[in-house]
Structures are given as structure tokens and as C-alpha cells.
């Protein structure tokens, strides 16, 4: 467990023979041919071809929104593809719903478990697969079957334990057992390690290997390259709805995968002069933050952002960046640590922490504009004042000066070229790029000292990207401190004056965008050992598979 990549390579030794033999029999468990799926203007899956060999662990990697989950939802019958063919064991099937998928031997372990908390493990396994109205015979049969499955796949659980009393790792085993009990031959796991501790993840991988060796096929959706290297036999890379490539894991490496995931498209280099950093405006000291499930996501993070510079935080999604942003902006309570704005500690606790942060001069463009930054059922002008509604510009006393608010919204629509130029339109009806501009206009026009931006251009069309980048640069040149978090490496490289790389809740390295290569950054993002890494990281890594 010293060098994870080495470790990953070792794992490849064993399955090679098995893979070769099954390939020789040209035995494909799943074959997807020309799958297309559109959601309105979004082309979520573009002409996807995918071959999954029986008895292998097949990884699917890609950034958020690359279309992995949509593809698996099509395979599992949640969505129907607009066009394309699904072959299971060589025969074409039109999978209509998840029941149908199960009947074909396809089981899914969801990212969020679908278990009844106050039922026993046995009851959860049987749930929905009862033989008759009387529960007794089903449970007896299930108990026998469960014992057999446990033996065959090394999946020990206590059938009578209550779900809410067992660990998250065990709950995941129950999900796997549920699928096996229903006769699944192909198991789809969607981001299975998201909620697991490193030890539990280790355990999961051990189980997956046993399952594979027993002839089951496993499709693993993840964005963690280390997991891909550690457990998979084959890996398919998706980017922006398209299947980029499928590789043998033993013949690739994290750098190559990172490159494929992020894409090699032309850097959107924005014209900017070298930064002239001034005083430290934002300083984050020893920040520790937990997510909603109580998992520590930000682990003792410290950094500073100075006036007139853009600091970019790079990293694969899900490594604590979201929690970091939410905590600095006052949306999420911090477990410990201090956030200072121009030297003054911000008091961020309580459910109006974000209000105090704003008052102090910290503006926040959130990662997820539809869930946080906007109320999509509101009209545009209402969202244009969200968070600042008590500003005197919007009226005296308790009463809102609606004409004034709408006039201001109209001005900003003009200034930020928001289309359609109608402040009375429901926000849900604006495109992603224009919604982002609504949020940016709101946060930038306040002239804050510190601006933090999460995923500045996620889901934003090419035309708006340049505009948004230029606005951010303009803020920097006006002497503001800017923190940008993005999973788009290109974006970070072209925008930031200084790059911090986040992995597993730690800042694992700092790089100069002018000199750092994509390879170096990709390695850091994948958590691969770096000589400059702080010692805290090694400890965490030791536990990782």
C-alpha cells in the first residue's frame, strides 16, 4: 500500500488470464451501440458505443455532467434512449424499466442507498422480491440464499441486524446483496466510494474482486482515477456526453486518463496582464468541514488570497472543494478553523452566516446556481437581489421598492448582456449561461473585496464563457481578491494566477499556471504522490487502496 499506482498494477496481474479467455469466447455481458439521449437542448449521450466483457470490472470515468449517469440510467431502464441498441449477453433488448433490467440480470447499487432504515438486513433484501403475501416462507428462503451468497462471495453480514445500526460500508454490502439476491449478473455501482471511509472502500474493492473472480461483471462509475487504476480491468472515458476512449487499465496511467477526461481542446487563454498582488484579503486557516453525512470533507486547509490575484483551486470533483466554498461563504458550519477577511475573522456560524459574510464584503457565485444561487421559480429581477434584499437600494423600511429593483435588474441585464432581456421572466426559462450571468451580475455589481466563484462556466455555452472569464479578470484588475474553484483544468490554468490542487480534502500542492504542465497538475489531482506534498497527506494516502 505504499505506491498506489504500483499497487494498481499488481492488481492487474491476476485478472489478465480471465479476461483473455472470456475475450476469446467473445463473450460480451453488455453491449451498447450508438446510444443517443437528449434532454431538450442538452445532448447528454452522443452516439455512445460501449462493450463490457463478462467477468471484468469495467470502469467508466468522466467529469460531472459527462453523461456517465445518464448512460447507466439508460442501461438500468430509468431513461429510454432516443436511439441506439442495448445488447445483453448478445441479444438486443429494449429495456423499459428497472424491473426489466433486473430480469435481464442487471443490478444497480445507487450512490444513495435505497434501504429501509428500520428494517433488518434480511427484510431489506427481501423487500420487493417477496414470493407471496405471507412473509415467513420468503424470509426463510432468503435467509438460506443469503447464507449461500455470503459464502460464495465473502460478503459476511448479520441478516438480523437493523440497517440504521450498521456502518455505511455494510449498508452498501446489503445493496450489493440485494442485487445478487435478485439474480444480478451485471452490477452497476455509481460512485460507490463517495460515502465510504478508506478502509471501507478497501473492503468494497476486495468484495468486487471476489465477485469478478466468480464470474460477475461489474461496471464502476467513478471520477476517482486511483480507484480505476486499483480495481478495473478496462476503463472507458466519457467527456461532454461522448465516449472518448476505452482502454485496458494495465496499458494506461492516471495522467493519460486525466488528459482524456479533461480534454485537450484549445486553452481558452484570456488576455490578462501579470497579476500585481497586494495585501492579503482572504485568509483561510486550518479549516475543517464536514458534509451533511458527517464525513470530513475539508481536512485542515490553509491558504490566502491577495488583492489583485486570482487563486484557482483545481481538483477532481468531490475532493472537498464544494464544502470548502460553502464553508468560506457562510453556508455550511465549519468544524474548526478561521476565515479572515482583510485580517478580521468572519463569524460564519448560524443559518444567516452567508448574510454576515456578504455584509463584510465577500461575494459568492455558487457552484450549483440552480440549487443555491437562484430560485428558479422567481422572476429574474427577484433573483437579481437575492441575498441583498435588505439593501436600501430596494426600498425604505420593510417595503420593497419593486420599480427600483426592476430598474436595476434591467440595467444589469444590459450590462451583462443577459438574454432574453426581460426582468419579468421566470428564471427557470433562462439558459444556463444566462442564469450564470444573473448570478455573476448580482455578486459582482456589489463591488465586494473578495469574490469566490464555484465552477464559473459549468453548463455554460462557449459564447458566454469568454464573457464570464473577462468579467472575473476585470474584477481582479480592480484590485479584488478572487478565489475560483473549477473541475475544468483548462479553466483554472487560463484564469488563475496561482493554482492550488485539492485532493481528498487537502491542498496537496501549489503550482504556477505559467510553468506547470497539464501532466503535473493531472498527477496532483489524481492524488499521486508528489515530493512537495505536506506530510498530512501521506497518512491519508496510506489508507487508500
Amino acid at each position: 500500500m505504499t505506491d498506489p499506482v504500483q499497487n494498481g498494477d499488481n492488481l492487474q496481474q491476476r485478472p489478465q488470464g480471465a479476461v483473455a479467455s472470456s475475450a476469446a469466447a467473445s463473450d460480451l455481458a453488455i453491449e451498447l451501440i450508438g446510444i443517443n439521449k437528449r434532454f431538450g437542448a442538452v445532448h447528454a449521450n452522443k452516439d455512445i458505443d460501449l462493450k463490457v466483457r463478462r467477468g471484468t470490472v469495467h470502469g467508466i470515468v468522466g467529469e460531472n455532467g459527462a453523461g456517465k449517469s445518464t448512460l447507466m440510467s439508460i442501461l438500468y431502464g430509468f431513461y429510454t434512449a432516443d436511439s441506439g441498441e442495448i445488447r445483453v449477453g448478445g441479444t438486443p433488448h429494449a429495456i423499459t424499466d428497472s424491473r426489466h433490467a433486473l430480469a435481464l440480470g442487471i443490478g444497480m447499487v445507487h450512490q444513495h442507498f435505497m434501504l429501509v432504515d428500520n428494517f433488518s438486513i434480511l427484510e431489506n433484501v427481501v423487500l420487493g422480491a417477496e414470493d407471496s403475501a405471507m412473509l415467513g416462507p420468503s424470509l426463510d428462503r432468503a435467509r438460506k440464499e443469503l447464507t449461500r451468497l455470503e459464502k460464495e462471495y465473502n460478503l459476511e453480514v448479520d441478516p438480523d441486524a437493523i440497517i440504521e445500526d450498521v456502518s455505511v460500508g455494510t449498508q452498501q454490502r446489503v445493496e450489493i446483496l440485494k442485487a445478487l439476491y435478485r439474480g444480478a449478473d451485471v452490477l452497476i455501482l455509481d460512485e460507490p466510494t463517495g460515502v465510504l471511509t478508506p478502509a471501507e472502500a478497501d473492503d468494497l474493492f476486495r468484495v468486487l474482486r471476489v465477485l469478478r473472480d466468480q464470474g460477475k461483471t461489474i461496471i464502476l462509475i467513478t471520477h476517482k482515477l486511483r480507484e480505476i487504476m486499483a480495481i478495473t480491468d478496462y476503463v472507458s472515458v466519457m467527456r461532454q456526453g461522448a465516449m472518448v476512449d476505452t482502454l485496458k487499465t494495465s496499458e494506461t496511467n492516471p495522467e493519460q486518463l486525466a488528459e482524456l477526461m479533461v480534454g485537450r481542446r484549445v486553452l481558452l487563454r484570456v488576455h490578462k496582464t501579470p497579476a500585481r498582488p497586494g495585501d492579503t484579503f482572504l485568509s483561510v486557516e486550518n479549516l475543517v468541514v464536514k458534509d451533511d453525512l458527517g464525513v470530513t470533507r475539508v481536512k485542515d486547509v490553509s491558504f490566502t488570497v491577495r488583492a489583485g490575484e486570482i487563486v484557482g483551486i483545481a481538483g477532481v470533483a468531490g475532493n472537498g472543494q464544494s464544502e470548502l466554498l460553502e464553508s468560506i461563504s457562510g453556508m455550511r458550519d465549519q468544524s474548526s478553523g478561521t476565515v479572515r477577511l482583510k485580517g478580521t475573522p468572519l463569524s460564519l456560524e448560524g443559518d444567516d452566516g452567508a448574510h454576515r459574510a456578504r455584509k463584510a464584503g465577500l461575494a459568492h457565485v455558487p457552484e450549483d446556481r440552480q440549487r443555491m444561487g437562484l430560485i428558479t421559480g422567481f422572476e429574474e429581477w427577484e433573483n437579481a437581489m437575492l441575498g441583498y434584499e435588505d439593501d436600501p437600494a430596494y426600498g425604505k423600511g420593510v417595503i420593497l421598492d419593486i420599480p427600483a429593483a426592476q430598474a436595476q435588474a434591467r440595467e444589469r441585464i444590459k450590462k451583462f448582456d443577459i438574454r432574453p432581456a426581460n426582468e419579468r421572466l421566470k428564471t427557470a426559462l433562462f439558459s444556463g449561461g444566462n442564469q450564470q450571468k444573473i448570478v455573476l451580475a448580482r455578486e459582482m455589481e456589489r463591488n465586494p473585496d473578495v469574490l469566490i466563484v464555484g465552477q464559473p462556466t459549468r453548463g455554460v455555452d462557449i459564447g458566454a464563457i469568454e464573457f464570464i472569464h473577462n468579467q472575473i479578470i476585470k474584477m481582479r484588475d480592480a484590485g479584488k481578491a478572487i478565489l475560483v474553484v473549477s473541475v475544468e483544468l483548462d479553466e483554472i490554468r487560463s484564469l488563475a494566477d496561482r493554482i492550488l490542487v485539492m485532493f481528498d480534502g487537502h491542498i496537496v500542492g501549489e503550482a504556477d499556471p505559467a510553468t506547470a504542465t497539464e501532466r503535473e497538475l493531472g498527477l496532483m489531482m489524481a492524488g499521486v504522490t508528489d515530493k512537495k506534498a505536506p506530510p498530512a497527506r501521506e497518512a491519508a494516502e496510506g489508507k487508500m487502496p
Binding site: 434532454f39 453556508m331 448574510h355 454576515r356 443555491m372 430560485i375 434584499e389 420593510v398 453548463g459
Partner: protein, 378 residues
């Protein structure tokens, strides 16, 4: 998945067509019930309509009942805009009677127009307190208001019995009720000014209800707090992002909701009975849920729905005199059916209607797919 692909109805269909369909269904089923016991449904319908709107007397009583429903409907609607389901209107309206009688009796020798505003404040304070406590429990302890407000209905009922029987009942009176307000301190009913409403219970509280309707409209759509409260109702994550204190909004909204429900006590205790009796709320709190649902939580809708339910109550009362075969219990059945179809099952026709609308318009269908993709986010 198929239901997720349905697009919201156009506004006019949602606001006008759907309630009318529900109402029509309620009347059809009621008609079948009436038919089943051997009476003429059309005659019954005629009796209800004339009983509710036939003359000034009938209209006066219809408006008196409507007054209560406007308050309880508003109480539900204001909470609903903040995403809270206050089903404690009954208890809040009931216990508020304590506040009203507590100021009305000591001040009974003052002219009514001085006591009236004081009674309003007192009723609002006590009703508001009864809404605040569940709000506080939700905001600070995470106890769901649906559960706590139901419980508070029972607590209020028990307290009221105790207070009326053991504290407020003067010696020498057998009925469980408080002392009467002295005649010179009683608020005159509207019949004293408008001959049309002679001998009916409609009183100045109706004016208060109309003011509350306008006030609620103003509060919800024209104040900073209304903005925050609607924001919370639509997206609590966004309000956290905005830094509005969700817990503070919940407590204030529940207090306002309770205060509005408490105005029923002003109508009943100060405007009609001139004393505190038991069970004067007569489930107006629950009818308020149906009123708010049918009125789509909008003051104009609530006004219309409250008048409809007021008419049903008044017309239903008349029905038993016009058609002796339809007993009082039958009237309750009809009222309950209307509440069932317009309130509890108000979404019954929605999916069907959405399908019809989508079949009629391919553009809507495309829109639905788009809306769905926004939700699932690729």
C-alpha cells in the same frame, strides 16, 4: 418517470379550470348521495344556492361564515408560501378566544370602537403564540410543524375547556361559557347599518378580513420579509446561500399564521357571541386548508373560496329546512365531499388535464422534456 414529464398547466387552467372541475365532481357525487336516499338532487342544489344567496339575510350569514374562512384560509396560505403546512388553525383560532375575552370583559364599559382594536391585538397575540411555539420547535428542534400543530389543536381544546369551566364561567350559570360583554360594550353587527343584513351575524370583522386579505397580498409580494418567506418556501438551500435566517423566517411566519387564525376569535367572541363559549371554531381551521388549496394561496382566490365555503355552510343549513328528507347530517356529508374533492383531492384531475393540454400542444411537450432535463441535470 412518465409523470415527471408532464408540464405544469397554464395558469388559467390551474387557477380556474381545475377548481371548477373539482367542484363539479363534488356536486356530482353529492348529487348521487342525495339521489341514493331518494331525494331530488337538483332541488337540493337549488335549495343550497337560494339558501346562500337568496336574500339579504342569507347573504349576511354566508358572509359571516366566509369571514372565518378568510382568516383560516389566509393562515394556511401565508405559512404555505414559506413552505410550512400549518394545520393548527383550529387550535390557534380557539385559544385566541382567551385573549379576546381577557380584554373584552374588563373593557366592556368602553365604546366598542376602542375595544375592537385591542381585542384584535389580544386575539392576534394569543393565536400568534400558539403558532410561534410549533414554529420555534421546527426551527430550533426540527420537530415538524404538521405534527406539532395537530398536537397543539388538542392542547388548545383541553385548555379551553378547563379555562371556560373552571376560570371564566361566572357562578350561577349552568352552561359552560364566560360572562357576557355588557350591552353597551358590544360591537353592533352590520345589520344595524345596512338593513339588508338585518338580523344576521355578519359584523365589522368582515371588514377586518378584507383588510387582512389586502395586507397579506402586500406582505407576500411587496415586502422584504415576504420576499424572504417566498424564497424559503421555494428553495431553502438558496435562502441559506442568501444568508436569510431560515429559522427566523419559520418562527415569524408561524406567528403570523397563528395570529391570522386567531382573528376567528374576534369574529366569534367579540363580533357575534359576546362571550366565550366552547367549540365556537367549528372546524373553521380545517376548512381553511381547503380554502387555501382551492384559492391557490392567493388572497383573491382565498376570498372566492371562502365565499364558496361560506355559501355551502349557510346554504347547507337552509337545505334541511327546505327539504326535510335531507337531515343535518346529510348537509355535513355534502360539505365534507366538497372539502374532500376541492381540498384533499385537489390534484385529482391535474395529471389528466396536463396530458390533455400536452396532447393539444406539441410545443408544451417539448417544454416538458426541457423542464425535466433541467431537473435531472444531465
Amino acid at each position: 418517470m412518465s409523470s415527471a414529464l408532464l408540464k405544469p398547466l397554464p395558469r388559467w387552467a390551474d387557477v380556474v379550470l381545475l377548481p371548477l372541475l373539482n367542484l363539479a365532481l363534488a356536486f356530482v357525487v353529492s348529487g348521487l348521495v342525495v339521489l341514493a336516499i331518494g331525494q331530488d338532487p337538483l332541488a337540493a342544489l337549488n335549495a343550497i344556492v337560494t339558501g346562500a344567496f337568496g336574500n339579504g339575510y342569507n347573504i349576511g350569514y354566508t358572509l359571516y361564515y366566509s369571514t372565518n374562512f378568510m382568516f383560516t384560509g389566509l393562515a394556511v396560505a401565508v405559512a404555505a408560501h414559506a413552505g410550512l403546512f400549518n394545520i393548527g388553525g383550529n387550535g390557534q383560532a380557539y385559544i385566541a378566544g382567551l385573549g379576546v375575552i381577557a380584554v373584552a370583559l374588563p373593557l366592556q364599559f368602553l365604546p366598542w370602537w376602542i375595544t375592537f382594536p385591542i381585542a384584535i391585538v389580544a386575539g392576534a397575540a394569543v393565536g400568534g403564540l400558539w403558532g410561534f411555539i410549533p414554529g420555534w420547535l421546527q426551527a430550533k428542534r426540527g420537530s415538524h410543524v404538521v405534527i406539532t400543530t395537530i398536537m397543539f389543536n388538542f392542547i388548545a381544546a383541553a385548555i379551553m375547556v378547563y379555562m371556560v369551566v373552571n376560570v371564566l364561567k361566572p357562578a350561577g350559570i349552568l352552561a359552560p361559557e364566560s360572562a357576557m360583554i355588557a350591552p353597551e360594550g358590544r360591537m353592533p353587527k352590520l345589520g344595524a347599518f345596512i338593513p339588508w343584513f338585518k338580523n344576521t351575524d355578519v359584523n365589522f370583522t368582515l371588514i377586518l378580513a378584507l383588510i387582512c386579505l389586502v395586507g397579506a397580498y402586500f406582505l407576500i409580494w411587496h415586502t422584504r420579509f415576504g420576499f424572504a418567506m417566498r424564497a424559503l418556501g421555494q428553495n431553502p438551500t438558496a435562502t441559506r446561500y442568501a444568508g436569510m435566517s431560515n429559522s427566523r423566517i419559520i418562527m415569524i411566519v408561524m406567528t403570523m399564521s397563528g395570529a391570522l387564525a386567531g382573528m376567528v376569535a374576534v369574529n366569534q367572541v367579540f363580533g357575534v357571541q359576546y362571550r366565550l363559549v366552547l367549540d365556537y371554531v367549528a372546524d373553521a381551521g380545517f376548512v381553511g386548508i381547503a380554502v387555501a388549496l382551492m384559492g391557490r394561496n392567493h388572497p383573491v382566490g382565498i376570498l372566492l373560496a371562502a365565499i364558496l365555503f361560506g355559501a355551502l355552510y349557510q346554504g347547507g343549513n337552509e337545505l334541511q329546512y327546505v327539504i326535510p328528507g335531507l337531515s343535518k347530517e346529510m348537509v355535513v356529508v355534502i360539505q365534507a365531499l366538497v372539502i374532500l374533492f376541492t381540498g384533499a383531492m385537489e390534484g385529482l384531475f391535474r395529471p389528466g388535464l396536463q396530458r390533455i393540454f400536452m396532447a393539444l400542444s406539441p410545443r408544451q411537450k417539448a417544454g416538458a422534456i426541457e423542464a425535466n432535463s433541467v431537473k435531472s441535470g444531465g
